[in-house]
Amino acid sequence: MGDVANTENIPVPRELAVVYNRADRIFRRIVTSGALTSLILLGLIGMFLFVKSAQIFNDRGLSFITGSNWTAGSGDGVIPDDFSIGPMLTGTVLVSLIALIIAMPLAIGGALYIEFYAQLRIRKILSTLLDLAAAIPSLIFGLWGVAIFTSFGERWSALFNARFGWVPFIRVENEIFGRSPFVAGCVLASLITPIITSVSREVFSRTPRDLIDTCYALGSSRWGAIRTVVLPFGKSGVIGGAMLGLGRALGETVAVYLLLNIVFRYNFRILESEGGNIASLIATKFGEATEYELKALIAAGFVLFMLTLVVNMLAATIVQKSTVRK
């Protein structure tokens, strides 16, 4: 009788010894080296960009980040080279933040609609459309922005300026409204909305069904279930998706190049038609750059690389944590 409680007799699970023979070890080594290429590649990108631009960081130090001039020297030393990316850096962040602020509510609304409100047939159509939208090249977004959206953007800008001109960020000096951080930000928003929407939809769909049903059983409305269960459950995933979108917006080249006047002056008035972005700076200046200027462009690329890497690593951490199947 006492045997039942006797824990000593319960067998312990056997330790499984995995033995790899030579063929296995070779196979594993090949696969490992293949998988390591991405690790090595990322390291190489950072290293090469840094090595090639070390001279710039050495010459200019912190003023490369803070200064606001991009002047190619005359070569004989009369006009010295002066390269720095201050306005481009703040411009990159400004445009991306505008895009993110506009995209977030739309993406969350869109994801909630697809996942919880749309009928099955509409849901299928919309999710196909969503996948497709996420794959449209940014060049086409830029093209659409120039040809179609700019007229809307200009009209909205003029309206904002007339109504809310007393807000310091919105006031403009010249009443030309196209090619402003606001217009570029709007187009970037439509570019990153699909990314955020599909990540959000993914995490929303992982919400345990029984928790939602419990909400309904307790007499909750649909919004009640979303607010108390779905949103808290998907919060970190949505934030991760937002970071992914932000990373994409920070590194966007062509759309911004087509939609923004690149001006080397610190500008925080979002409707003014001047601004900047590191990636489009590189695309603009690359063609006719002198050798030293090229190094400065590579240095700018390095700064952009580090910036997006940090954002994307944060995003990867958050998304990985929230999408692990429990």
Binding site: A35, I136, L143, R248
Partner: protein, 354 residues
């Protein structure tokens, strides 16, 4: 004779399942009616006042719809009312989110159709200026160049991506976490940075802009997509299959190579297709690596080479009417390629699902 199941069913009338939460016909009609009334009212307001364009119409429609809903639900309790308003807000957000994409598809089709002629696919811009009529010249060289570069990039990336996927799901070595983490964060490397990287390495080394350089830059961008999709696909292989293979005495390498990988052959094709769709429209890295050309180039080494994105981009810079018409046609072709790739991926990927 003992009673059969049907006898019992007939004896006890089974109640029909009810769905008390479903929206009644009346509620649905109410919503539709509200929408119609708002639309008519909004049209009148837009026509009478100066509120211009489709955006003004949308805003008016939204405001009137909210107002009517407010009046309609004023007798209901607070919870139901709130639910109703949230529904409108979410629907509006979804419409706003989806309308730019609809607009993009529509404008690409409408504006791209003008130059969508046979000569666009075979002729080049060698003897044609961008301003010439649309029945002259084309983007044959750009299409060939894009295809060439994307094929080389796929040939480089696919094995590496599959190896990454196999490492993450089969081998599961010590670096699993790091490989997955790096692949995730690498997918966010800005495309122009990939171009700069190839510029500072490969082009510095070979001393010329070339299609190969473009392919390498595209490969850098393609690798994370392929690796991640391959991992997702390999994850779907049931563990029973692996166990069965081990139980039959197969070693790990045979299990992976001869059981697991063949099972997901079509999934890996999907990975490659999604990778191609990711990079086919990339412009920025090609501006730094392969530049562009006006005639057919088949040799990926030694000389600049045309591609669809740089073709569109270059014509946009010129900006005259015929040039932008050509650019829109290029954009239409790009969109169609992406669409076709997605359809193929759907079709192929659908075969794996059980």
């Amino acid at each position: 004779m003992s009673p059969t199941v049907t006898d019992i069913q007939q004896a006890t009338s089974i109640p029909e399942p009810t769905t008390p939460w479903a929206r009644t016909r009346g509620e649905q009609l109410g919503t539709v009616a509200t929408f119609l009334i708002s639309a008519i009212a909004a049209t009148c307001i837009v026509l009478v006042t100066g509120l211009a364009g489709i955006d003004g119409f949308g805003l008016t429609l939204f405001v009137i719809f909210v107002a009517i809903t407010f009046v309609r639900t004023i007798r209901l309790n607070a919870k139901v009312r709130k639910d109703e308003f949230v529904k409108i807000a979410i629907f509006a957000a979804a419409v706003l989110a989806f309308s730019p994409w609809m607009s993009i598809f529509a404008s690409v089709i409408v504006k791209g159709a003008k130059g969508f002629r046979p000569n666009f696919f075979v002729e080049t811009m060698q003897t044609t200026t961008p301003d010439d009529e649309l029945n002259l010249g084309g983007a044959g060289h750009a299409i060939i160049g894009s295809m060439l570069m994307v094929i080389i990039a796929t040939v480089i990336t696919l094995p590496l991506g599959i190896l990454s996927g196999v490492y993450l799901t089969e081998v599961r070595g010590r670096l699993t976490f790091w490989v997955r983490f790096v692949v995730q964060s690498m997918s966010g490397v800005p495309s122009i940075v990939a171009g700069l990287f190839i510029y500072t390495t490969f082009i510095d080394f070979t001393n010329s802009f070339s299609g190969m350089a473009g392919s390498l830059a595209l490969a850098v961008l393609m690798l994370p997509t392929v690796a991640r999709t391959a991992e997702e696909v390999l994850k779907l292989v049931p563990d029973d299959l692996r166990s069965a293979s081990y139980a039959l005495g197969a070693r790990q390498w045979r299990t992976s190579l001869m059981v697991v990988l063949p099972t997901v052959r079509s999934g890996l094709t999907t990975a490659a297709i999604l990778g191609v769709a990711r990079v086919i429209g990339e412009t920025a890295p090609l501006l730094l690596t392969s530049l562009s050309s006006n005639s057919y180039v088949f040799n990926p080494f030694g000389s600049p080479i045309g591609s669809l994105p740089t073709y569109v981009f270059g014509l946009l810079q010129i900006g005259t009417e015929n040039a932008s018409n050509r650019a829109w046609t290029g954009a239409l072709v790009l969109t169609l390629i992406v669409l076709a790739l997605f359809s193929i991926a759907r079709f192929v990927g659908g075969k794996d699902r059980r």
